[in-house]
C-alpha cells in the first residue's frame, strides 16, 4: 500500500538509522499537529464536565476536580429547550436529506454524464451556474416561496428545498464520466435500457462513491444553520444547531450547559464518521474528484 521507495534488499545500518530518525520526526510532526486539532475537543469535554465557577475562575484548571456527569441530565431535563427533540429533528432531517439528495442528484448526474442528448451540455452549464450564486443571496425569496407552500415548521420545509444541490449533481456527473463504459453498455444491450442498466449495474458498482457522498451530505444536513433557523419557527421543529445557538444567545450564559449541548450535538456525527470514513476515502479515491 505504501508508495515510499520499496525496501531494496539489505539496507545499510546508516540508512536504517536515518529511517528511524525520519520516522521519529514524522511521528513528532504528526503528533504536534494532532494536539492542535484536538484542543477544541479538549475544551468541549473540560467545560462540559465542569461547573461554571471552575470555567470562569481566575486560574486555568486543566481538568475539573470532579467530573460532573450530572450536567448531561441537567441538559435533557432543561425545559426551556427541548434538546432531545432537536436531536431527533436533526436526525430525521439529515437522513431524509441524504436519501433524497443521493437519489435525485445521482440520477441527474448520470443523465448529464452518460445520456447523449443534444442539449445536455447547455443543461449542465445551467446547473454549474447555480454554484456561483451564494445561497444567502436567494435566501429571502426562497423563504417566502417555501412559506407560501405552507411548509414552515415542517420537515418538508427543512428538507425539500435543500435537495436540489447543483454541487452534488456536479460531483456525481464527474464520477459517472469516469465510470467504465463497457459495463453499462453491455447491460443496455442486454435489453435493460438506461434505467435498468443504471439500477442493476451502475449503482451496485458505485456504492463506495455513494457512501462518500452520503457522508458529506449527512454532515451538511446535520450542520446547516441559517435555513433551519428561519424555517423552524416553532421550537418543536428546531434542529440541534438552532437549539445550540439558542443557548449562546440566551441572556444568562450557562457555560457548562452550552458545552454539554455542543458535545451532545457533535457526538452522533463523530460516530457516523468513525463508521463511514474508510468508505469516504475509497469513494473519493475511485472518483478522483478531479478537474
Amino acid at each position: 500500500m505504501t508508495t515510499s521507495v520499496p525496501e531494496a534488499g539489505a539496507k545499510s545500518r546508516r540508512v536504517r538509522r536515518a529511517d528511524a530518525l525520519g520516522n521519529t520526526g514524522l511521528y513528532l510532526a504528526v503528533s504536534v499537529a494532532a494536539v492542535f486539532f484536538l484542543v477544541p475537543f479538549y475544551l468541549i469535554v473540560r467545560n462540559a464536565l465542569s461547573t461554571d465557577a471552575e470555567i470562569t475562575g481566575e486560574n486555568w484548571k486543566f481538568f475539573p476536580t470532579h467530573l460532573r456527569w450530572g450536567n448531561i441530565s441537567e441538559l435533557f431535563d432543561d425545559t426551556t429547550v427541548d434538546f432531545a427533540r432537536s436531536l431527533w429533528n436533526s436526525m430525521v432531517v439529515a437522513v431524509l436529506m441524504t436519501a433524497g439528495i443521493l437519489l435525485i442528484c445521482s440520477l441527474a448526474g448520470y443523465g448529464l454524464a452518460r445520456i447523449p442528448y443534444q442539449h445536455a451540455s447547455k443543461v449542465f452549464y445551467a446547473v454549474l451556474a447555480t454554484l456561483m450564486v451564494p445561497t444567502a443571496v436567494t435566501f429571502v425569496p426562497s423563504f417566502v416561496l417555501v412559506s407560501s407552500l405552507g411548509w414552515v415548521d415542517s420537515y418538508r420545509g427543512l428538507v425539500i428545498p435543500g435537495l436540489f444541490s447543483g454541487f452534488t449533481c456536479f460531483l456525481f456527473r464527474q464520477y459517472f464520466l469516469g465510470f467504465p463504459k463497457e459495463l453499462e453498455e453491455a447491460a443496455r444491450v442486454d435489453g435493460l435500457g438506461y434505467w435498468g442498466a443504471y439500477w442493476r449495474v451502475v449503482v451496485p458498482n458505485s456504492l463506495n462513491f455513494f457512501a462518500a457522498m452520503a457522508t458529506i451530505t449527512f454532515i451538511n444536513g446535520w450542520n446547516s444553520f441559517l435555513w433551519p433557523l428561519v424555517i423552524g419557527q416553532d421550537p418543536s421543529s428546531w434542529t440541534v444547531q438552532v437549539a445550540l445557538s439558542s443557548y449562546m444567545t440566551n441572556q444568562t450564559v450557562n457555560y457548562h450547559l452550552i458545552f454539554m449541548a455542543t458535545a451532545v450535538s457533535i457526538l452522533p456525527l463523530l460516530l457516523v464518521f468513525l463508521f463511514l470514513q474508510r468508505w469516504l476515502v475509497q469513494g473519493i479515491a475511485q472518483t478522483g474528484i478531479k478537474g
Partner: protein, 322 residues
C-alpha cells in the same frame, strides 16, 4: 462485483452486432431517458433555485423595503448605491485578502497533513481520524468554542491563559482591530473545520499514484523527499489540487457562518460581502432592493473569477468530451 464483471465480459463478444438493435428510434429514446433521469432534479432546481434567483434580480431594480413584492421601479439606483457604499466595496477587499490567504494556506495544510498521514504505518487510521473529525463540527459549534473558551478576551480564555504564561496582558482578540488579531481567530476556525476534508481528498489521490513511478524514479537516482515530491507527487496531484483550489475559492466566497458568529455585526472590519448583504437585507434595515443588487454584483464577480481561474488552471478541460 464479481457477477457484474463476468457479465460484462460474457457480453463483450456479441456486443458489436447487438448494438444495432436499440439504435432504432434512439434519438427520441435518448431524449426521453435524459429527461427521465434529470427531470426530478431540474424541476426542483427551477422551483427552489432559479425562481428565487430571478426574483432577486427583479427585486434589485425596485425600491423594496419591508416587502418582496414592491411596485416602485428605481432602475439602477440600488446598484449605484451599493457600488458607492464603502462598506460593500470594502468587504470585497476584505474578501480578496481573506481568499488570497486562506486558499493557499488550507491547500498547503491539507496537502501537508495528507503527506504525513500517507507515510505513517502505525496508527494511521487514528491520525487520519483526528484530522478529519473537526469536519463533523458545525460552524455554530466551532464558533461557540472559539468565542466562549478559546479566544475570548478575558482571563478564562485558553489563548489568553497561554499568552499570560509569557507575561502578556489579556488580548481582545476580536473587538480591537489593531493589531488585527481577528484574522487569527477567523482563519484558525476555518482551517480547523476544513483542512481534514481536503486532506481526505489528497489522501485518496495519493493512493492512486502508481507505485511504479516512485520505483522508476528511485532507479533514475531521484532522492526521496523533495525531488520525488517535486517531480512525481505534485504533478500527479495536479487534478486534485485544481479541484481543491476551486472548491476552496467557492467556499471562501460563501464565507459567512464564522464571521457572523465570531465578529460582531457592529464592526466595520472583517466583513465579508455576504455579511454586508445580510445586514442590508435581513437585519432590521430590510432593504431587499439594495441587498439583491449587491448579490447580483457579487455573483457576477464570482463568475468572472471562476472563469479566469478555469482559464489559468485548466479546470473544465475534458468537459468537451461529453
Amino acid at each position: 462485483m464479481s457477477t457484474t464483471t463476468t457479465r460484462g465480459i460474457a457480453r463483450s463478444a456479441p456486443a458489436g452486432p447487438a448494438k444495432a438493435r436499440p439504435r432504432q428510434g434512439l434519438g427520441a429514446n435518448r431524449t426521453l431517458n435524459f429527461w427521465l433521469f434529470t427531470g426530478p432534479f431540474l424541476i426542483g432546481l427551477v422551483i427552489f433555485v432559479f425562481v428565487p434567483i430571478v426574483w432577486s434580480v427583479w427585486l434589485s431594480f425596485y425600491d423594496a423595503r419591508f416587502t418582496v413584492t414592491p411596485s416602485h421601479f428605481v432602475g439602477l439606483d440600488n446598484y449605484r448605491h451599493m457600488l458607492s457604499n464603502s462598506d460593500f466595496t470594502g468587504s470585497l477587499v476584505t474578501f480578496t485578502v481573506f481568499a488570497a490567504f486562506i486558499v493557499p494556506t488550507t491547500w498547503a495544510l491539507a496537502l501537508g497533513l495528507a503527506l504525513l498521514v500517507h507515510r505513517l504505518r502505525l496508527l494511521r487510521a487514528f491520525f487520519r481520524s483526528v484530522f478529519f473529525l473537526p469536519t463533523a463540527c458545525s460552524y455554530v459549534a466551532a464558533a461557540l468554542i472559539w468565542k466562549m473558551s478559546l479566544f475570548n478576551g478575558v482571563r478564562f480564555g485558553l489563548a489568553n491563559t497561554v499568552v499570560g504564561w509569557f507575561g502578556v496582558d489579556n488580548i481582545a482578540w476580536v473587538s480591537n482591530p489593531s493589531p488585527p488579531w481577528y484574522w487569527l481567530v477567523v482563519v484558525t476556525v476555518r482551517l480547523w473545520l476544513q483542512s481534514g476534508f481536503y486532506m481526505i481528498l489528497f489522501l485518496a489521490a495519493l493512493q492512486n499514484i502508481p507505485g511504479e513511478l516512485y520505483e522508476a524514479a528511485a532507479i533514475d537516482g531521484a532522492r526521496r523527499g523533495w525531488q520525488t515530491f517535486r517531480y512525481i507527487t505534485l504533478p500527479q496531484l495536479r487534478a486534485t489540487s485544481t479541484a481543491v483550489i476551486l472548491l476552496l475559492l467557492i467556499a471562501a466566497y460563501q464565507a459567512f457562518d464564522e464571521f457572523y458568529n465570531l465578529i460582531t455585526t457592529r464592526a466595520t472590519w472583517g466583513q465579508t460581502p455576504l455579511m454586508v448583504l445580510y445586514k442590508t437585507a435581513l437585519g432590521a434595515s430590510q432593504d431587499y432592493g439594495s441587498g439583491s443588487a449587491g448579490a447580483v454584483i457579487l455573483t457576477l464577480l464570482i463568475c468572472v473569477v471562476t472563469l479566469f481561474q478555469g482559464r489559468i488552471m485548466g479546470f473544465g478541460r475534458g468537459e468537451e468530451s461529453t
